[in-house]
Subunit: 136 residues, 2 copies
């Protein structure tokens, strides 16, 4: 082992679902991300996150098989992602999610004014919006 160089952050966060178009619509219209690419074959969609990162949405039936030009990957089941919201804007998010006719699965107050709201994307992934710093 050597001392690792330092990563600066997460560049690509990945979620999976069989209908990447539906997932892309969700992350654009609900989470406000910017669609930067939608593969015509349904393999993936890429959405830009305001901090410069990318949310990738893959169909695991297409991304899992071996022999791709990049390493294969793909999961089944419900993944999870949490987005940061601006300070004090969680109530606006609650109203927006309601206007999107999404069921609020949970609303959690962590103490100290921190709070999270959870919904599900069309593939059943758990999507959290967080106001504040939950972890130490």
């Amino acid at each position: 082992m050597t001392e690792p160089p330092q990563v600066t952050g997460v560049y690509e966060t990945v979620l999976y679902g069989s209908d990447v178009s539906a997932l892309a619509r969700f992350y654009v219209s609900v989470a406000g991300l910017r669609l930067i690419e939608l593969a015509p074959d349904g393999l993936f969609a890429a959405c830009r996150i305001p901090d410069g990162g990318v949310l990738l949405l893959f169909d695991p039936a297409l991304s899992s098989p071996p022999g791709r030009s990049v390493p294969s990957h793909g999961t089944s089941g419900s993944g999870h992602v949490a987005f940061r919201v601006r300070d004090g804007e969680l109530q606006s998010w609650m109203e927006h999610l309601a206007a999107c006719e999404l069921e609020i699965e949970r609303f959690v107050e962590w103490g100290g004014g921190l709070a999270s709201v959870y919904v599900r994307d069309p593939a059943g992934n758990s999507v959290e919006f967080v106001d504040g710093e939950i972890w130490e």
Copy 2:
């Protein structure tokens, strides 16, 4: 639908594996993240990313069952994450990964000086280190 408020970034990126201690060791010693919490019951580990985000590592056998205090989630199969590295440091990463005795699954040059190196974590998740901006 209403115009969404703006998220500022991804706060929690999540990967899964049956041995979260082994995953945590990997992300600390190989990726250089800082361990901030390791649940004694093996449910999860949380690692701080230098940009302020958190990488969460969950055992899906423990995080999937319904009835948790927070929404359940959990996947099987190989997930994927990509970390940004500092400009020009990918060669240092290659040397570090070799010193960690990890197999380099792929090295991809995207053109324009951009490049990625891919390894696997102990759960088989595809872990990419990226120098440069791949997406438009």
